[in-house]
């Protein structure tokens, strides 16, 4: 497959979609950031004093940071009723964590109603198991890549569809950022892997 010089970096539409699984390890999700609205105002000071495992420093950050152990998650509770859940490794865990936080706040005396659950960001790791020539990749796709080895050893590749960022490292490891669902991760890897094989260091 010749390198893409057009704006889009998706494969040529006449090419058959590869059905064999790509020889990639992953992508394994390492972090999910999601938001929800609890439809209820909170007195963060009261929450900080009554709940366990809370940090509330209004001078630094206007939310109470609560951590749970099962599933391991961190929740940012804002006084307006917004909740952000970070640190889960799967979407089902994230939903469960949201419910656990809402339940905990209910036990403190509030009446939260979990609404508008949205996954905002999924971070995943993948391993292509090959060495990559990052300079070559940057030279071929200058519009999509940012690579400054003196500042950061990874190349920052911006994928158009799905709109995501991938950090590509010379050892073949990838960090996928900005996905909104697991399907996006799979698509990004399918789009990127053929491009990367062209710049394999033999």
């Amino acid at each position: 497959m010749s390198p893409d010089t057009s704006r889009s970096n998706t494969p040529n539409s006449r090419e058959p979609i590869p059905t064999t699984p790509l020889p990639i390890h992953g992508p394994t999700i390492s972090n999910i950031v999601c938001g929800a609205h609890l439809n209820c105002l909170f007195d963060l000071h009261h929450i900080a004093l009554s709940a366990r495992n809370v940090m509330y420093n209004p001078k630094r950050f206007p939310a109470a940071v609560i951590r749970h152990r099962r599933p391991k998650a961190t929740g940012l509770v804002f006084a307006t009723g917004k909740l952000q859940v970070l640190g889960c490794r799967s979407v089902s865990d994230a939903v469960l964590a949201c419910r656990r936080f809402a339940r905990m706040l209910q036990k403190l005396g509030y009446q939260p109603r979990l609404e508008d659950f949205v996954v905002q960001n999924i971070v995943a790791n993948a391993d292509t198991r090959m060495l990559i020539r990052l300079e070559g990749l940057q030279y071929a796709h200058p519009a999509f890549c940012r690579y400054e080895p003196e500042i950061f050893p990874g190349l920052v590749y911006s994928i158009m569809e799905p709109k995501m960022t991938v950090l590509v490292f010379a050892g073949g490891k990838l960090v996928l950022l900005g996905a909104k669902n697991e399907g996006d991760l799979e698509k990004a890897v399918k789009v990127l892997y053929p491009v990367l094989t062209l710049f394999r260091r033999s």
């Binding site: 004093l49 366990r52 809370v54 940090m55």
Partner: protein, 98 residues
């Protein structure tokens, strides 16, 4: 602790009308300043402990920790265990800390 003993003594003295409340407040402030200096500079004894952090809290610039199954070590030879301890800590620079 020393601070609580001092506070109790001052309350007794105020109760028996031997000193003014304002003087007691001045004494407490003086005590806070000097205890902060002494603990920082003069005390040389060391202690380390390891345990499982059960709960933590940070509110109003005060940290509260509840630690379980702790093993204390003091000056190398002194060791003892405790099931559960509670630590309340606040900023050292804050003069109004109790």
């Amino acid at each position: 602790s020393i601070g609580l003993a001092l506070a109790d003594t001052l309350d007794d003295l105020i109760g028996s009308r031997r000193i003014e409340p304002q003087l007691a407040i001045r004494i407490m402030q003086n005590f806070d300043q000097s205890i902060a200096t002494v603990l920082g500079e003069k005390v040389k004894a060391r202690m380390t402990f390891k345990g499982h952090l059960d709960t933590y809290r940070f509110c109003d610039e005060v940290w509260t920790f509840i630690i379980k199954d702790i093993h204390f070590k003091m000056d190398g030879n002194n060791q003892f265990d405790a099931e559960k301890i509670k630590i309340v800590a606040c900023l050292a620079k804050d003069k109004t800390a109790a």
